[in-house]
């Protein structure tokens, strides 16, 4: 081993060494000493790659690999909760947790308790209007996250974690409600002028929309049709 590369690896903390070693060995890296981890890394990577591994730069990630440093941050403070994050017009990332005591309680009452993710919306822009179920999707106690696709354009999205015991439903966690303002495109006939004033920044040099957004495309087409 050359001094420069060994020195480089010794600058890494334990978790980083484990992270690097995990990618190429079947050994249980947690049980290896620091020196053994360094040895393992030498077996996995060429020297140039090790030289490029200064912390903070150029350690490439392999897609979907496990071993993120973040997984080592203890969560404790676990409560039953559900959080939804809108990614784009149709995709939502949802993650949830059930506190150990609630999980024990649910399963002690009924070992066959089922879990469900419930996605709800309202019928218009108003947060006060009636809420309805968009769809339910079953999940398990082992799961804790999903990426959910919703095809329909939505107004006010809420997700709930529902426990079903002996046919009875109980909402055990409810997310924040997201407000998706929707343009009132069906109610107004917009002029060509509006098209220029609102959509010019969204067109490329060939006058095509640069935004891959279904609502914008529909809206833009409708204004063009209205003015033909």
């Amino acid at each position: 081993m050359e001094r420069s590369t060994t020195k480089r690896l010794q600058a890494f903390n334990r978790r980083a060494l484990e992270y690097l070693a995990k990618r190429g060995t079947d050994d249980d890296v947690e049980n290896l000493t620091d020196e053994e981890l360094v040895e393992a890394i030498y077996d996995i990577y060429p020297k140039d790659a090790i030289l490029s591994m200064q912390f903070g730069r150029n350690i490439p990630r392999i897609d979907n690999e496990e071993g993120s440093l973040i997984n080592d941050v203890p969560l404790y403070f676990t409560r039953t909760s559900i959080d939804v994050l809108p990614i784009d017009l149709h995709w939502f990332y949802v993650f949830w947790s059930i506190s150990p005591s609630q999980k024990a309680e649910l399963l002690s009452k009924d070992i066959n308790t089922k879990l469900m993710l419930r996605i709800t919306d309202t019928k218009d822009n108003s947060l006060k209007s009636d809420r309805f179920i968009l769809f339910d999707t079953e999940c398990t106690f082992e799961e804790s996250e999903r990426s959910i696709y919703i095809e329909k354009n939505i107004y006010n999205l809420t997700m709930e974690l529902v426990a079903i015991q002996k046919g009875k439903e109980k909402v055990i966690a409810k997310s924040y409600t997201y407000d998706f303002v929707q343009p009132l495109i069906t109610e107004k006939k917009l002029s060509k002028k509006a098209n220029t004033l609102l959509f010019a920044p969204l067109l490329n040099r060939d006058n095509n929309l640069v935004v891959n957004n279904q609502i914008i495309s529909e809206y833009y087409d409708k204004i063009n049709e209205d003015n033909e």
Binding site: Q54, L198, A200, L202
Partner: protein, 530 residues
């Protein structure tokens, strides 16, 4: 023809990076490169335009983390060392290139850039770089505004308003303590907006009147906005909102056919750090054992790697002239098109990353100077800030804007893809912990405990920086980004444990405070749902 107002906003931001005692981390170079190649030449150019009595008003966004780094004397010292090293390399290069006129001229130009920066830092500003920016603000030609404390992409944390409030209030404090005035406007990172965010901004950003959004927010607003993106609207909370003219911005920023990709401009990626022997450049790159950028780049964009032509400044400047004319002509054409459609003089809002100008696109600052000059000479156009436009036209249409981000197709996809979405679970958990302790000790008077809470809030803000998510998304330095988030969250865990169950560890606290000497004016009371 109606007059057209041109509202140019330059956005300067870097994540908070400070590893002065850790020789294995080199990310401070990002700061030094941006200072030398973008921020200082930009300040120089704007003072020059003022001295030439050009009529211009421009907005400069300085993110709070960048302001804190610029104010940090230790960073200034590091910057001078960086410049000395690059001046030494430049002088070696001039000797090496004697007799080779084409290359010599390019090396000399680069060397002069480092020398000019060093002279200003040491002799003009006495190693207080922030004075350059304060001077710019005081000149009256530049309106400096703030962003969000740690450049957090706010829509992700819509359901945690405590964090959003603390981000805004802290940014405002940093701006006030630095510039002795409240920021008149706000820059939302990536222009991430969600319905009713304006209400939080209004309550927590004292005296801020305006912010910016993507044109998607206007196009999909609940009501039809009659003046389109060519005038601001007013939200129900009373804030003015300006939307960007992204199609004109694309003339510069498009990765396919933007101006910076022209053959005659300087090629960023071809650097002697990759062309000359490691034994020669080793002591001038961040890590002596690995190749890296030195700043000495002798080729133009032209051709593929092997056939690139030597950079020719005269040819590049001719293109600057051509591209600035094209840009100003395009703005004028848009004003001619939209002017007759609305009942007031239109404003064209344009934003560019400050680091694009000078650092990535070497000629970018010359281009901007040329744009300023051409607008000054154009009777139909005038450069203006958002504040001044609002003064002329205080009556704006009311609007309920849609959620959007400057990344047009998305609400948040670069920040929530498979590379980084799992992190949100631990971040949300930490936010809940910080909310818990700020609520528990809201009226506490114990000075040491208050330092712990303040530190927890600071670490929470830094953990949510959009830069870490962006770095993971781009797969540039994902380990570094995860390490930063992990460090902040572990600190929050430690503070939570200390306050909840254990005795204090003041030596750890002092170390942590010294490690992150920023956001002094943080008010932990803002980090609550009260």
């Amino acid at each position: 023809m109606k007059k057209g107002y041109v509202n140019i906003v330059l956005h300067a931001h870097l994540p908070y990076i400070r590893h002065l005692d850790d020789e294995t981390v080199f990310e401070e170079e990002w700061f030094y490169e941006a200072m030398c190649e973008s921020y200082m030449p930009l300040v120089r150019m704007l003072f020059k335009a003022r001295d030439e009595k050009l009529k211009f008003h421009i907005t400069l966004v300085l993110s709070p983390t960048l302001v804190e780094m610029i104010k940090d004397r230790a960073n200034c010292k590091g910057f001078v060392e960086y410049l000395d090293k690059h001046i030494e390399l430049g002088e070696k290069e001039l000797k090496r290139l004697e007799g080779n006129d084409e290359f010599y001229r390019v090396a000399e130009d680069t060397l002069n850039l480092y020398k000019a920066a060093r002279n200003e830092v040491v002799n003009k500003y006495g190693e207080k770089l922030i004075n350059a920016l304060i001077g710019l603000q005081e000149s009256g030609y530049v309106e400096i505004i703030t962003s969000v404390a740690a450049h957090t992409f706010l829509p992700i944390y819509e359901s945690r308003p405590s964090l959003v409030k603390a981000e805004i209030a802290t940014a405002n404090s940093v701006h006030f303590t630095t510039f002795k005035d409240y920021s008149k406007g706000l820059w939302l990172p990536d222009c991430g907006y969600y319905p009713r965010l304006d209400e939080i901004l209004k309550k927590n950003a004292i005296e801020s009147q305006y912010f910016f959004v993507s044109p998607v927010s206007f196009a999909l607003a609940k009501n039809n906005i009659k003046r389109g993106v060519y005038a601001p609207v007013k939200t129900t909370s009373g804030m003015y909102v300006f939307a960007f003219e992204t199609s004109l911005m694309n003339l510069v920023t498009s990765s396919i056919d933007g101006y910076p990709g022209d053959d005659d401009y300087r090629e960023f990626y071809r650097d002697i750090g990759y062309d000359l022997p490691l034994s020669y450049i080793g002591e001038y790159v961040p890590d002596a054992e690995k190749r890296g950028f030195t700043g000495y780049k002798y080729y133009s964009v032209s051709g593929k790697k092997e056939d690139k032509k030597v950079y020719n400044k005269d040819k590049a400047m001719a293109k600057v002239d051509m591209h600035s004319s094209h840009f100003v002509d395009s703005i004028e054409a848009r004003v001619k098109e939209v002017g007759p459609l609305i009942d007031q003089d239109p404003v064209i809002n344009l934003a560019f990353d400050a680091e694009l100008l000078g650092h990535w696109w070497k000629e970018g600052i010359d281009w901007l100077y040329s744009v300023i000059k051409k607008i000054d000479a154009n009777d139909n156009l005038s450069l203006i800030t958002s504040s001044d436009y609002i003064k002329i036209y205080p009556d704006a249409e009311k609007a309920s804007l849609a959620r959007s981000a400057l990344t047009l197709n998305t609400y948040a996809s670069p920040y929530l893809d498979g590379s980084n979405n799992k992190i949100q679970r631990v971040i949300f958990n930490a936010i809940d912990k910080v909310e818990d302790i700020t609520a528990r000790y809201y009226n506490d008077k114990n000075p040491v405990r208050l330092r712990y809470i303040k530190q927890a809030v600071k670490e929470m803000l830094l953990a949510t920086s959009s830069d870490w998510l962006q770095i993971m998304h781009n797969n540039t330095s994902p380990i570094y980004a995860e390490r930063k988030i992990e460090e902040h969250l572990q600190s929050i865990n430690k503070i939570y444990d200390l306050l909840s169950y254990g005795k204090g560890d003041t030596s750890w606290l002092v170390r942590q405070e010294k490690k992150y000497p920023l956001f002094d004016a943080i008010d932990y009371h803002t980090f609550t749902n009260k």
